[in-house]
Symmetry: C2
Subunit: 404 residues, 2 copies
């Protein structure tokens, strides 16, 4: 039997997805599973986007340009103009199959095997996957639940820079922490990137979902670092169209753009229908985002307030995105999360959470934590937390007193 690659052997299982088979089994047994494990909102996709799909007037679903169709890149440029970046043109955008592919392109364009990227942790678990795909090493800068996952001093980043460092990756607002970077923090990171001539890959796919009148600052806001910045964006979260698989890579650096285009050409083209849907959403849905933001604010508050009432649970109030990292009074959330799916149910219902170990470079650091996505409507969220609480109580009983 042929051996699989070391690359594959080193690939971490996605903490968000690895328990899916257990969830599928639970569903087969008739158990309802509430999904707090994945950033799949139950928020409806904008009606204009769905209508654009239903009204497609095409005879052939053909390839688009490798960098994405011009009309959609124009819509993207005009969206970025509204954010204040008037210099961007369609030629700054490469449309990708989700933000995932944009991350892949960014890393492969900038990094060779054994190179390093610096990432504040906990971080989006699939950064490990994308880096691992290319044998790139993740060097983590730790932040902790105790201080609300606030960013360590920018100088700490500088200390980690070696000859192998090719980029700093940030997610702003952060998945899984909900942390929102300040103007000052971002400026310092940009200065470090320029000083050391490394790239900053800024994953801003949750940009729209920032709460309490806080302002999101894009890494694009520092023109002195124009040649160093690569933005990862996506329509998945903005318009609740994760399954459309439409994201993009944005850079003002011609050199990075041209290199990334080689990877884009090799896979021929991003998906057509998603571009049509996203173009429509951009044209018509300004109000949509505000409404969704209000909804997430309510959900966040509900979630955090409910969690705070459970003895032994620690969690801070995230400023953005739609996740929070919570510490649970269990020894190993990998085991607990699997147990919830395999052994537990209450009134034929259970809940699925993402064990947070996979969001750290060293899984031990997140062993007692889970990532919870507040993507379900309030009543479902309420029931999910209730299930979590009942589950924890029963789990504690079972494992502290097995004969219980």
């Amino acid at each position: 039997m042929p051996e699989i690659s070391q690359r594959a052997k080193n690939m971490p299982a996605s903490p968000v997805r690895k328990l899916v088979p257990y969830a599928e089994e639970a569903k087969k047994k008739g158990t309802k599973v509430y999904h707090l494990n994945i950033g799949q909102p139950d928020i409806e996709t904008p009606e204009t986007a769905l209508r654009a799909i239903k009204n497609i007037d095409l005879k052939v679903l053909d390839y688009s340009l490798s960098e994405g169709g011009f009309a959609y890149r124009e819509a993207l440029a005009s969206y970025y103009h509204k954010l204040g970046f008037n210099d961007l043109t369609p030629e700054n955008f490469i449309v990708t199959n989700g933000g995932s592919e944009a991350l892949n392109f960014a890393i492969s364009t900038l990094c060779d095997s054994e190179d390093e990227v610096i990432i504040p942790e906990p971080y989006y678990a699939n950064y490990n996957g994308f880096a691992g795909t290319f044998n790139v090493k993740v060097v983590a800068i730790p932040s902790t639940i105790e201080n609300g996952f606030s960013l360590p001093p920018a100088e700490d980043f500088e200390k980690k820079i070696t000859e192998k460092t090719r980029a700093i990756i940030i997610c702003n607002p952060g998945n899984p922490t909900g942390y929102l970077y300040t103007q000052e923090e971002l400026k310092k990171l940009a200065e470090i990137a320029v000083r050391h001539d490394i790239a900053i890959i800024s994953d801003e796919v949750y940009r729209e979902y920032v709460y309490d009148n806080n302002e999101h600052i894009s890494m694009l806001a520092f023109p002195f670092a124009s040649d160093h910045v690569v933005i990862i964006d996506s329509e998945s979260k903005r318009y609740s169209m994760c399954g459309a698989r439409i994201g993009c890579l944005i850079t003002r650096s011609e050199k990075i753009y041209r290199a990334a285009m080689l990877f884009a050409q090799a896979r021929l083209s991003p998906v057509l229908i998603g571009q049509i849907a996203a173009t429509a959403a951009h044209h018509d849905d300004a109000a949509y985002v505000e409404e969704v933001r209000n909804e997430y604010t309510k959900r966040r508050d509900l979630l955090v307030d409910l969690l705070a009432k459970i003895p032994g649970v620690k969690c801070s109030r995230p400023k953005g995105a739609f996740y929070c990292v919570a510490e649970l009074p269990v020894e190993d959330t990998d085991h607990f999360a699997q147990w919830l799916l395999e052994k537990f149910s209450d009134n034929n219902e259970t809940v699925m959470v993402a064990p947070a170990g996979g969001f750290y470079s060293n899984p031990e650091l997140g062993k007692k934590q889970v990532r919870i996505a507040y993507v379900l409507k309030e009543e479902d969220l309420k029931r999910s937390v209730e299930l979590l609480e009942i589950g924890m109580a029963r789990y504690k009983k079972e494992f502290l007193n097995p004969k219980g």
Copy 2:
């Protein structure tokens, strides 16, 4: 300015896509460009597939499972049952963003940096891109236009196998050559794979388009090599839905499947709407493929007959896929193809072909050749070849007698 990776520097430009900017320029000047450069058929996507898209009854475009939705994988399994592979179940399929992503997964699952894959050349140019992405070396086995690109003896493959060899990649029927492998050739390759415990990645995306009552034999037909075979498939060509970006990786090897799934999970999910469209096409469109096959047969015959009449042009009659490699009486088809777009037009029309250098490990071998896709309807194909002929005559005049 941050340096780009060596990986990116080594990435070959796609011979199919690298001239696109010149084509875009020509179009801006009002010149009509006939595209023989790319496998983008003008054949209509099945009505059932388009209808399924128009009738989507979804409120949220959500993620599917990383391996693809169950309903679509069931449709795939049942399609493979009709091909005679009754043992396949939905659990043998990983749905991907086009055949491109399936190739990426196959290579990253099997190969590490510096590993080698053996490929008969000329081969699909993007194999270079996918291998290059992972620093994998392509070891080519040459075939020539003189003998219709027939496969060298299977033993020649064996001679190229080293400790670094991880897989043999074949494309059957072949892009760009249209070559169709015989049962005997395939069996020998399968035996070699088993004997040396390496994988065979068999790209069968053109399986439906085999002409003159020839039979397509899948690499799945050799159960003794079950653990060694990875199939690349796609709906792009079968149902003329290249822009839907739906392909799949198929393997009977649990080990390879599990490893490939890690890469699939890292990018979360394949595209939703394409799966819906493809499921519909599989359920209803048996007649479609036969009709399209007849159409391609006519186009192939027209193309080959027309090319045969042009003095100095060499080309054989392909048995499958919808490409042929033709040798032209010019010194450098890279230069010629660009010239056709930049400097040439006849009645405000020109034609785009893919220089064949990029389909070889050593571009010099294909320097006088082009790949022509017979994906346009007969009258367009006729006009395209006419433009090619007029262009060649004018090009010859200009470059043999520049003052002429």
